[in-house]
């Protein structure tokens, strides 16, 4: 196998051209997602067998309209195609265009063709041709564009084999540019540029000087020449505009004879759908209904698999104890690792459901209509229409949501979006909410159909969104950042979503979350278990101390065991930690056991439930662990004799978890995305204070 030859293929294209469908068809399940070094943009790689001895390593680069980037994702395309020293530099580029938008899609192709790298053009969605009345002369087009063309339909799986053959033959491709566009702009200027960098293709040199970023692969002399050319910014800007105009002239010339659309065949489905979906009343009503439907899915449908998972891990825990010989190792598995993994697995249903909905909305083209509808409203809060998708994604997990804000090109709008996303109710809060609501809100129906517990959950979501919006307003009026608006979005045609694409998207997102957040949760579960089952002298002598006490002399064996376990937990390392913060958290109505859970959930909120599970597991009759919920309900506050999780404490905890910034993963990603510690620290302190103060107020009002 190691003797196999590998051809490196880069897949490039505009968004909405079916590039990802093609990638999925080429590589199937042989995909992996990694990160580009230094930045967190996801790198999608896949293997594809071309012949018995030759394989292709296909990279799916982020969708872009032009080689001139306007966002972080797009910068990556430029970087990959310019840096020959990098491992990811392709042997051959496959540019994907969509038949209906071929004119605009070809702009990127003509730019890439000028880089003198072998390039194949794939015209996708040819199954639409007949219906749309489109005819195309491939031979003529190939000649004029000086390339190999493959007609394909990634959804109908046609043209895939042909593309593989074309990739195999890449060495035969003509790498000459289509026409000397630079001569038409300014011959003298570009011959000077050519002489300055004789080692590069001319268009590459042009790209080097038109971008703002530093290119690491240049040596010091080359860098000096670049900055010399960059001094005349007005000239560069003028020539870039000219370049675009000339490119479109060439494209129009090329398409004039070889591409034809019979306009009488065009249907107006788009027009009809647009009129309804972007209507000033119906548009919002439909959007609200879709959101309601999504939340219904997360709360209602997901509870069934989640209850099953919760129950299954509880039984697994007891089962481990009956099968393995008693001892430290068994306890580590049954009380540390198994509940820890259970705490991760329980998120899968909700995350999968949410990402299924989001990817359906994106695939159909509906998301762009939402951006269009919401832009003006969101701008009142200092954000952009494009902030809506990250804010919705935030209900699954802040980490991908913050990364999804990258396509907001205005820095202030993007920063505000990033800062307020952690207020949206992420799925890590759900298990905390779910268990607290089940403990303090009766399972009753109001007005016949509405479930009181469900309504409380809804209210908490609204609280999160309200907090996000209000803090955005506050940030908008305090942050003094000026930025140019580059808001231009494509309104793609409506499409029936591809099940395959949605499946891959959901699997990828869920996997990334489970592996990313999962490691933290598991590690903390084990550390917690250790801290709870070890301690200084008093812990070690617990048995002697408890049995020797006068009042315990007449107790039964079982009761005595319980007393010992409880005494042990109190004097374990974690018991001391919880006790030391008790004075600070007492005003919110919490004791040292809740304190332990609070400390542990500063790494990730969901650990709250896992931590309590571990604490009460150690604390309870270990023959019969039961579910976490049962154990929490049975817990009594020794000071008052009432239930530990009564209404005031419950509300106070709910508010604390709604507002506090308790996610190390999010803080890390905000630091990376904003390139500064200032913003994550602002989030940590600001949200923490809000949480602390509102929890104290709520506790005092209700008790």
């Amino acid at each position: 196998m190691s003797d196999d030859k590998v051809v490196k293929v880069a897949l490039v294209g505009n968004p909405n051209t079916g590039k990802t469908s093609l990638f999925n068809q080429l590589t199937g399940l042989k995909q992996k997602v990694g990160n580009y070094p230094g930045i967190t943009v996801e790198k999608k790689l896949g293997l594809c067998k071309l012949s018995n001895t030759i394989k292709a390593e296909v990279t799916d680069l982020p969708g872009t309209y032009s080689i001139n980037p306007t966002s972080l994702d797009e910068t990556l395309v430029l970087d990959t195609l310019l840096n020959e020293e990098k491992e990811s530099f392709p042997d051959v580029i496959v540019v994907v265009v969509e038949i209906e938008n071929i004119k605009r899609n070809l702009l990127l192709f003509t730019q890439i063709k000028d880089l003198k790298i072998p390039t194949i053009l794939v015209i996708n969605m040819i199954d639409q041709m007949k219906r749309k009345g489109i005819t195309i002369d491939v031979k003529q087009l190939e000649e004029k564009l000086n390339t190999k063309i493959v007609l394909a339909s990634a959804r109908k799986k046609t043209g895939i084999e042909e593309l593989k053959f074309a990739i195999l033959d890449y060495k035969k491709l003509d790498i000459n540019p289509i026409s000397k566009i630079t001569d038409r702009i300014d011959k003298d200027y570009f011959s000077r540029l050519k002489n300055a960098f004789p080692e590069f293709p001319l268009y590459k040199s042009w790209l080097l000087i038109t971008q703002n970023n530093e290119f690491d692969f240049l040596n010091d002399t080359q860098k000096q020449i670049v900055s010399k050319f960059r001094e005349d910014l007005g000239c560069i800007k003028r020539y870039q505009h000219k370049e675009t105009i000339f490119r479109y002239q060439i494209i129009n010339e090329v398409l004039k004879d070889s591409f034809n659309v019979d306009k009488t065949k065009a249907s107006d489905l788009r027009g009809i759908l647009d009129r309804v979906l972007t209507h000033k009343i119906f548009g919002y009503v439909i959007f609200a209904l879709i959101l309601l439907f999504i939340f219904q899915g997360i709360f209602d449908w997901a509870t069934y698999p989640m209850d099953l998972i919760d129950g299954a891990f509880a039984s697994l825990s007891s089962w481990v104890k009956t099968v393995l010989p008693p001892g430290t190792f068994t306890n580590l598995i049954a009380e540390g690792i198994v509940p820890g993994i259970g705490g991760i697995v329980i998120f899968i249903p909700q995350i999968a459901i949410l990402f299924t909905f989001i990817s359906i909305l994106e695939e159909t083209g509906y998301m762009s209509r939402v951006v269009f509808l919401m832009d003006k409203i969101m701008r009142k809060f200092g954000m952009s229409g494009k902030s809506v998708i990250p804010l919705i994604s935030g209900t699954a997990c802040s980490i991908p949501a913050i990364m999804a804000s990258r396509n907001i090109s205005n820095w202030k709008e993007r920063l505000i979006t990033i800062l307020v996303i952690p207020f949206t109710t992420c799925s890590a809060r759900l298990p905390v909410y779910a268990i607290l609501i089940a403990l303090i809100i009766p399972d009753k129906r109001v007005l016949g159909i509405l479930n009181l517990q469900g309504l409380t959950m809804m209210a908490l979501y609204l609280l999160g969104f309200t907090a996000a919006i209000l803090s955005a307003v506050l940030l908008n009026s305090t942050l003094k950042i000026k930025g140019k608006s580059l808001f231009v979005i494509e309104m793609p045609n409506y499409k029936i979503p591809s099940i395959k694409n949605i499946f891959y998207e959901v699997v990828e997102k869920t996997k990334a979350f489970i592996l990313g957040a999962g490691k933290i949760i598991l590690a903390i579960s084990i550390v917690l278990w250790f801290l709870a089952s070890n301690g200084p002298t008093k812990f070690k002598n617990a048995e002697d101390f408890v049995t020797s006490k006068q009042e315990n002399k007449n107790l039964s064996e079982i009761m005595l065991q319980k007393k010992v376990a409880s005494y042990k937990l109190e004097h374990s390392y974690i018991g001391y930690m919880g006790k030391s913060i008790e004075p600070v958290i007492k005003p919110m109505g919490y004791d040292w056991k809740i304190g332990i859970a609070l400390i542990s959930s500063f790494a990730a909120r969901e650990v709250f439930v896992g931590a309590l599970a571990t604490i009460y597991n150690v604390d309870s009759d270990s023959e019969n662990p039961g579910t976490i919920k049962q154990r929490m309900a049975a817990e009594v506050n020794p000071d008052t004799g009432k239930k530990r999780f009564d209404f005031p404490t419950g509300v106070s905890l709910l508010l604390f978890y709604a507002f506090a910034m308790q996610c190390v993963g999010t803080l890390a990603i905000v630091k990376r995305e904003t390139n500064s510690w200032k913003w994550p620290i602002l989030q940590l302190v600001g949200m923490g204070l809000l949480a602390y103060i509102s929890a104290i107020i709520a506790f005092n009002i209700f008790s």
Binding site: N68, R104, K280, E490
Partner: protein, 74 residues
């Protein structure tokens, strides 16, 4: 006063005359918004902003402030 894309009625067509190059992002040109090209206003979002236009075969949404910088002729 010059007429701009922002002055179009829904469904109305016109030709792009000039783009105020200093304020227009290159991206807009790259997406097909060029002088001499026909532009049609398809829809206005609630509160008259952004504007949904069809230009050069592309369907785009741009903000009113950008549309006001693109002058048109009939």
């Amino acid at each position: 006063m010059f007429k701009t894309i922002a002055n179009l009625q829904i469904g109305e067509k016109a030709f792009i005359e000039k783009l105020c190059l200093d304020n227009i992002p290159l991206k807009l040109l790259e997406m097909g918004c060029l002088p001499g090209i026909e532009v049609q206003l398809i829809q206005k979002a609630p509160m008259q902003d952004p504007l949904y236009i069809k230009v050069n075969g592309s369907h785009l949404a741009i903000r009113r402030e950008t549309a006001e910088k693109i002058t048109i002729v009939k």
